[in-house]
Amino acid sequence: MPQFHTTLGSTRYTFASLGELLARASPHRSGDQLAGVAASSAEQRVAARYALADLPLKTFLSDALIPYETDEVTRLIVDTHDLRAFQPVAHLTVGAFRDWLLSDAATGPVLAALAPGLTPEMVAAVSKLMRNQDLIAVARKIRVEVAFRNSLGQAGVLASRLQPNHPVDDLAGIVAATLDGLLMGAGDAVIGVNPATDNVPNTLRLLDVLEDLRVRLDIPTQTCVLTHVTNTLEIIRRGGPVDLVFQSIAGTEAANRGFGVNLAVLTEAREAALSLKRGTIGTNVMYFETGQGSALSADAHHGLDQQTVEARAYAVARHFKPLLINTVVGFIGPEYLYNGKEIIRAGLEDHVCGKLLGLPMGVDVCYTNHAEADQDDMDTLAMLLGVAGATFLIGVPGADDTMLNYQSLSFHDILAVRTALGLQPAPEFARWLAGQGVSDTEGRVRALTNSGAMERLIGSGASRHDA
């Protein structure tokens, strides 16, 4: 096994493997402590960063962190690596790569062309040498444009997923929360429900009500029920109105097995969704969620740090050209990301790693009640992600998800980010908002102070699902 080392003063620090070097270089977080892979001192952490900075990027092409033979995610990463695209940075060390990414030479188009040449381990490594400011500066150069029934990812656009969950999947309740979100200008990324009961008949019921609402109000967006991919496949067979195929994914074959998925079933599901030809202006039909710590919680992290494993999930995602992908950054709890500081850092890392790999990265800015975090931390992360050019954020009524029992952003919060940074919804959706009187002549969403628009939309939206 290769050894990596650096000497600081009179102390020589050695790292037995590439995985160990990456883990020791990672910023402090509780999940790496729990896994026993974190640096044992602050100085050791910086020593690892010195050693990592001197490491040739090429090392990642020959030193697989999880063996090729035993992990299909590794095989995907290696087999789809584009050596020609990698050439512009092939001579760099990780430290020099950071310097180059921040330089004026690394423009958006240059980084887009580079993406197929980068592996998740390379981007995870360089992110460990970046401060939050760097994570933002690099990410904001990269725009990844995708489309289905509207177009997302353009410069100046910040989209939103409208998440109208209900504790027992009550249809009138889901419609009520959806109307609330639409009146607050949310829903251009997707109107996406997490079902409380995850089975085929219930998902079909939810899909039908979302489809009915979307068609009746003629909303230029897509809908999704976030059920297991195998349920969605069955629903497609039964002729259900599936816009997007959803699945939670992780960065190792074993962790994906824990989710009950593999690359073959994702391929099958994507082809099934494409065969429906429901996208009017684009063919991005997949929606993925990820999050640091999911591999460790499935005991499938192979001794790697949680941020590196998370980046490997993006290699899975990009293979399927998704419309949407987001990290659910603070959902997993304080044993993985302890407090607001760790959640904010992880959100920015996940975002830039996804972008560097060519994904239209979004973030669920969120936390649980046992984490050391509150809405002030969410305000900070949401605003930073707006600056960093996130493709979309997730909103729930009043920031309170009453089904999943965690706090995300409110629709208000997303409006505040848009206003502060001069960002707009997806263009097709922005026109619909204006047509409905939800936004005013200046593009401000003020439906709740416009009783005409409010009553019209609620009247037509709720008519068939009265409480």
């Binding site: 509780s30 402590q33 729990l34 109208p164 969950n165 209900h166 504790p167 009550d170 009138a172 309740g173 889901i174 419609v175 009520a176 929360a177 109307l179 609330d180 607050m184 709890g333 304080p334 044993e335 302890y338 649980t368 009640n369 046992h370 509150d374 809405q375 729930v396 009524p397 009043g398 920031a399 309170d400 009453t402 029992n405 706090q407 409110s410 208000h412 409006l415 505040a416 848009r418 206003t419 401000r444 969403v445 003020r446 709740l448 102070t449 009783s451 409010m454 009553e455 609620i458 009247g459 709720a462 009265d466 409480a467």
Partner: protein, 259 residues
Amino acid sequence: MTPDDDPLPLTQPVMRDPFARLRAATPARIGLGQTGDGLLTAPMLDFQLAHARARDAVHARADFGTLAQALAPREIIEVESAAGDRVTYLQRPDLGRRLSEESRPNLRHGPYDVALVIGDGLSARAVDAQAVDVVEAILARLSPRLSLAPIVLARQARVALGDEIGDALGARLVAMLIGERPGLSVADSLGIYLTFDPKPGRRDSERNCISNIHGNGGLTAAAAAEKLVWLIEEALRLQLTGIELKDDQDTTVLIGGGS
């Protein structure tokens, strides 16, 4: 005063609440209004109050002294996990699943069918508010044929701490009553996890769970005890718990969750 006497006739239209009929359909915080892009003061403070209660429930210390008095004269044993303090507990679920070195000698083997453990889990308030009622309701329904171990009060406890406790007591079944992760609407919800042949290393799929025991539209103590006693009888008959113990009573099975 009749309308004709009104010196100031209404010039503004009466503002109706278009959300009125939607609110009944969901507990979600819909129709909150807005000022600029922001939340109005009242709903903002409502949210902060709910979060504050949830936070307090996570960080409060369960009042085991009062609990022991309420359960007297039954024999009580207090233990704590290896987590030691709340900050460690929240970051190290592995330590919350093991007994501290000092606690282990407190537990003695006996000819027990059932051990009841009350763990603080993620909500001390749940234990303070529900545990006595739930334990009394269980004991009132449990068959006198079954031998009950001393009631164990466990601090900084995760669900799986019950495995080591049940093992140390030599109990055939352990029922862990534990504070659930607080939500914004309910911060004092108790859950019960039942495990047959408890010993370290049991998987979550080997347990049956009754969740959402609380006074805000949740399961009552009596209803929870009813379900648990049924599960206990079935578990002893089938010699197992978990996904193979089908729940004819429509109990939520499984889910280890954040506990």
